[in-house]
């Protein structure tokens, strides 16, 4: 631990920028003369002053951040920023408890998309813009996190990804690399944002809705400005646009960047994850469509395909939009969708879960064990994109996947212990931990997380943060060894 105060200084700067983003909904609220103007004004002032104060107190501690400081910074940002983001929400909705407001903003910034607010359609435009804006900001932060910071920290085998992302790999210094890599990737993110907005408008959305849903789509979040989510639009064109951009956002942004910069689509083929990602995703769409048609849920295959495609892609990419109450489908379909969301998205995207990269490594390691029994003396390595993986990374990936499953089991037990039925408890944990959004049962796509008790809401909040920070980032900061000199 070099110097916690230096970390707080950086955090203060991040918070300062974050405060500035509150100006956008504030101006929108002022221009549209909706009732949330004062809420955003107070929110902005409070956040800005807190950040400035923090910065003043720590401004002398200008140290180069080391790898270990990264854990603290990342945890601080993802735990601290949602607390400030609650201010406008709580001021505008006075009956809302801090527990619920914090859940909502964590859900936004972790790009989860689970909500506790009912009656979204009646909220002022600025509040919904703020909610979905959090998802967009969370997505931008995530790109830095997953592409630039976590690989350096080596969380759960993330070292692997550092090799592929552009920019020089400097030994232990954190900041230069962040700036370097983030810039190119943000450009891709913004370009996709523009295209996605235009796509939605072309498909028939109003500009306001288009921007908000673009925010949600690219961050793979899932917040909507309508209680009915995409069922409100009931438009195959809108759904098609959403499917395309969700699929794109679920790919590694570094790959997008390389493909655009070199003007060569071959990068998508070279990427070891993308063919698996696309293959598994669309095979599942066809499988679920056929299953729905076969069980008679929808009378013709075309309708089944439309609903299967939108909801499956939405859940599997950890977005969480819905255009029908898919929890009413024969149970295998929603179960399979939840299963997908735990591993389908690519590393380096804004999606959640263990990521396709790790799934492939775990799968190959298991195959390696099988081969070893047949040929006990054979020397075999786990390969990815033709290159053998060091055992150290295989280790980290396996331990990560194991910790991932152990946490799902433990948190589910905790939810059931507090009195939930098992379907709600399990699906709420899976949906929060994978940063997907809607679960099943009481927290299904047609309802919200509002029915949960305070304790259960906090469990879900913790799950979202743990999932987003890839478990170990948070666990490391919580371990006593981290704080020892």
């Amino acid at each position: 631990m070099s110097n916690p105060l230096a970390v707080i200084r950086v955090f203060a700067l991040v918070l300062l920028v974050f405060a500035l983003t509150m100006l956008v909904p504030m101006i929108v609220a002022w221009a549209g003369r909706d009732a949330a103007v004062t809420a955003f004004q107070s929110g902005f002032v409070a956040t800005f002053l807190s950040a400035a104060l923090l910065w003043l107190l720590t401004r002398r501690h200008v140290d180069e951040l080391r790898v270990r400081d990264g854990y603290l910074l990342v945890s601080l940002v993802w735990v601290g920023m949602p607390a400030f983001a609650t201010i406008p929400l709580m001021l505008y909705l006075p009956q809302m408890s801090f527990t619920d407001a914090y859940f909502e903003t964590v859900s936004g910034l972790t790009t989860t998309g689970a909500t506790v607010i009912e009656g979204l359609d009646t909220l002022p435009f600025s509040i919904n813009l703020w909610r979905t804006g959090l998802v967009f900001l969370g997505g931008m932060g995530l790109i830095v996190l997953v592409v630039a910071i976590l690989p350096l920290l080596g969380v759960g085998g993330r070292q692997l990804f550092s090799a592929e992302s552009p920019g020089p790999l400097k030994d232990t210094k954190l900041t230069p690399r962040m700036a370097q890599t983030a810039k190119g990737l943000w450009l891709v993110y913004l370009a996709l944002a523009v295209l996605c907005t235009l796509g939605y408008v072309w498909a028939g959305m109003g500009w306001g809705d288009a921007v908000m849903h673009m925010f949600s789509t690219l961050g793979l979040g899932g917040f909507s400005s309508h209680d009915a989510s995409y069922a409100h639009f009931n438009s195959p064109a809108v759904e098609a646009v959403a499917i395309v951009f969700m699929t794109l956002a679920g790919m590694n942004f570094a790959t997008h960047y390389m493909a655009i910069r070199r003007r060569d689509l071959a990068f998508y083929w070279i990427d070891p994850e993308i063919r698996w990602y696309v293959g598994v995703l669309y095979a599942s769409v066809l499988g679920i469509a056929a299953y729905l048609w076969w069980t008679g849920t929808y009378p013709d295959f075309a309708t089944a395909l439309r609903f299967a495609a939108f909801n499956t892609v939405s859940i599997a990419t950890t977005t969480g939009f819905a255009n029908t109450d898919y929890a009413q489908w024969p149970f295998l379909a929603p179960m399979w969708m939840l299963f997908l969301c735990s591993f389908v998205t690519c590393a380096g995207s804004t999606g959640g879960g263990i990521k396709m990269m790790r799934a492939i490594i775990v799968f190959r390691q298991v195959m390696r064990e099988v081969v070893r029994i047949v040929h006990p003396s054979a020397v075999r390595t786990v390969k990815l994109a033709e290159a053998p993986l060091p055992n150290k990374i295989v280790f980290a990936v396996l331990a990560f996947s194991f910790a991932y499953m152990a946490i799902i089991v433990s948190l589910t037990l905790l939810m059931v212990f507090s009195g939930l039925d098992v379907v709600t408890g399990f699906s709420a944990v899976v949906a929060s931990f994978n940063n997907t959004g809607p679960g099943l049962g009481e927290v299904g796509p047609s309802t919200t997380f509002k029915s949960l008790s305070d304790f259960q809401t906090w469990v879900c909040t913790a799950a979202m943060l743990l999932g987003r920070l890839e478990i170990f980032t948070l666990l490391v900061v919580l371990s006593p060894a981290f704080w020892r000199k």
Binding site: V374, L398, A399, F400, M405, V422, F472, V476, F482
Partner: protein, 485 residues
């Protein structure tokens, strides 16, 4: 092909011995004249005749077995012996279908204890004896499998046990080693069975029931001669005896052997897993007793403790008796019990699940990753029972743990897809895969597996076999690489 015939020859000779096991129920049936004598006689003739014929026909292919042949032999034993075991059931119970009979026999030989039969009290006693005798024979086989064969194959890190087993370690041939190590364990197994039967008999069971339940208890199976299982006896003394013997049977036979040969109880303490096993078991009993008492299911703590102790130990050790319908308890309790059965028993016992040894290694590896994150250059070790676990074994264990969870998910999806509700599907998958027995919901302790459809019964049979053969043994035989020259 030559290999298959060589193994088939050994297989036929094992079947010959297995056929002789029918003499016990024949004797009992003759003695009490319960009307099942004809069924057993025909089964005995068929088995002896058939296996003698195969043994003679494949006589020319006899040779020393190699490691790969061992895998095949083990798989054939566990798949084909149940076929033979179905004969008396099919002949003695008119109207029993083959699916159910095979399920029952697999459940017997894998020491699972899930039954597809109802009206057990009305069956000829000799048939009930045959059912639990299958447990007992299966238990013998499991000890040999777990202590002598799997370590040689290195299934999921089983090599760890190799070092501890007394006797010379030969890498090439299996047979000398099997006989060597097996003998000591069989004596312990036999002694435990006799003690258990005596205790049950003196505790108030009829002697035949005592023998039936002793077979079942020591093998951690779970078949009973009464539909009501242990609720039939309603005797705290008998329950205490069961708890004692189930707990003992869940500890590694290697450790028992060390204790007996050294005449000191210290190996229990120094063993890497027995203290964890006992600790987790005791803590869970107290936790569940307190929970169901606090939730008001039982008025008095002593009653809660009695039922919590019996059912928790029974399910956690993968035995599967019930003294009450614990599925009616607040849902956390049975869920916790199912969770326990997936890892509580020790490696080298007759229990199922991933075994405590692997659970401890997985747990320690996760903490090692956290240490790695804080001190990237530190050299750390995972220790078990004071010895360092080699990385190769940790990798195997991690791969195994992952495969195990994946199988549970796949079985749950398969059962859910074929129409079971989620609680029944998940609990049936867990209960069969861990060789425990009763699940929850449709297949709860007061019901039986007869309610499932044919496809689901086959899935459950397969799950029991896969769980018992520690997944990889069975998977290896199904890979093309295994059959290549």
């Amino acid at each position: 092909m030559e290999r298959l015939l060589a193994v088939l020859n050994v297989m036929a000779r094992i079947a010959l011995i297995f056929g002789l096991a029918l003499l016990l129920p024949i004797g009992v049936s003759w003695w009490i004249d319960d009307g099942a004598l004809g069924a057993f006689d025909e089964a005995l003739l068929g088995t002896l005749g058939g296996s003698a014929l195969i043994a003679l026909a494949t006589r020319r292919f006899r040779r020393e077995l190699r490691a790969n042949d061992g895998v095949l032999l083990v798989v054939l034993c566990w798949v084909l012996l149940p076929l033979i075991a179905t004969a008396p059931l099919l002949l003695g119970i008119p109207g029993l279908r083959f699916v159910d009979a095979y399920f029952e026999a697999v459940s017997g030989l894998t020491a699972t204890g899930a039954t597809a039969l109802s009206g057990l009290d009305g069956l000829p006693p000799s048939l009930n004896l045959w059912r639990t005798e299958l447990h007992w024979i299966g238990g013998l086989g499991i000890i040999v499998l777990a202590v002598a064969i799997l370590p040689l194959l290195g299934v999921g890190g089983r090599q760890l046990m190799k070092a501890e087993v007394p006797g010379p370690v030969k890498e090439a041939g299996i047979t000398p080693r099997v006989t060597e190590t097996a003998k000591g364990f069989w004596i312990i197994y036999l002694a435990l069975t006799i003690l258990c039967a005596l205790a049950y008999g003196l505790g108030g069971m009829s002697w035949l029931d005592a023998l039936i339940h002793a077979f079942s208890t020591v093998a951690l199976g779970g078949f009973s001669s009464h539909d009501a299982s242990f609720a039939f006896f309603d005797s705290p003394l008998l329950e205490a005896i069961t708890i004692a013997f189930a707990t003992i049977s869940g500890i590694s036979y290697v450790t028992h052997f060390a204790v007996l040969s050294g005449r000191s109880l210290r190996p229990y303490w120094r063993d890497g897993e027995a203290p964890w096993y006992l600790g987790v078991l005791l803590a869970s009993v107290l936790l569940i007793a307190a929970y169901i008492w606090q939730q008001g299911y039982y008025a008095e703590f002593s009653t809660a403790l009695r039922h919590a102790a019996f059912n928790t130990v029974s399910v956690a050790t993968t035995l599967g008796y019930a003294s009450t319908d614990y599925a009616k308890w607040p849902f956390f309790a049975p869920l916790w019990m199912l969770f326990l059965c997936s890892f509580a028993t020790c490696g080298g016992s007759t229990g199922g699940g991933i075994k405590m040894m692997r659970a401890v290694i997985l747990y320690k590896q996760v903490f090692r990753e956290i240490t790695h994150a804080i001190h990237p250059n530190a050299t750390t070790f995972v220790k078990l029972g004071g010895a360092i676990v080699p990385n190769k074994i940790i990798l195997a264990v991690l791969g195994y743990g992952f495969l195990y969870m994946l199988c549970t998910i796949v079985f749950t999806l398969a059962l859910a897809a074929s129409g079971a509700d989620i609680v029944s599907a998940f609990s049936a998958a867990v209960a069969c895969f861990n060789n425990t027995g009763p699940g929850l919901g449709l297949v709860g302790p007061d019901s039986n597996y007869g309610v499932l459809n044919d496809f689901q019964i086959w899935v459950c049979s397969f799950a029991m076999l896969l769980g018992r053969l520690e997944i990889l043994t069975l998977l290896v035989v199904l890979t093309p690489a295994f059959w290549r020259k």
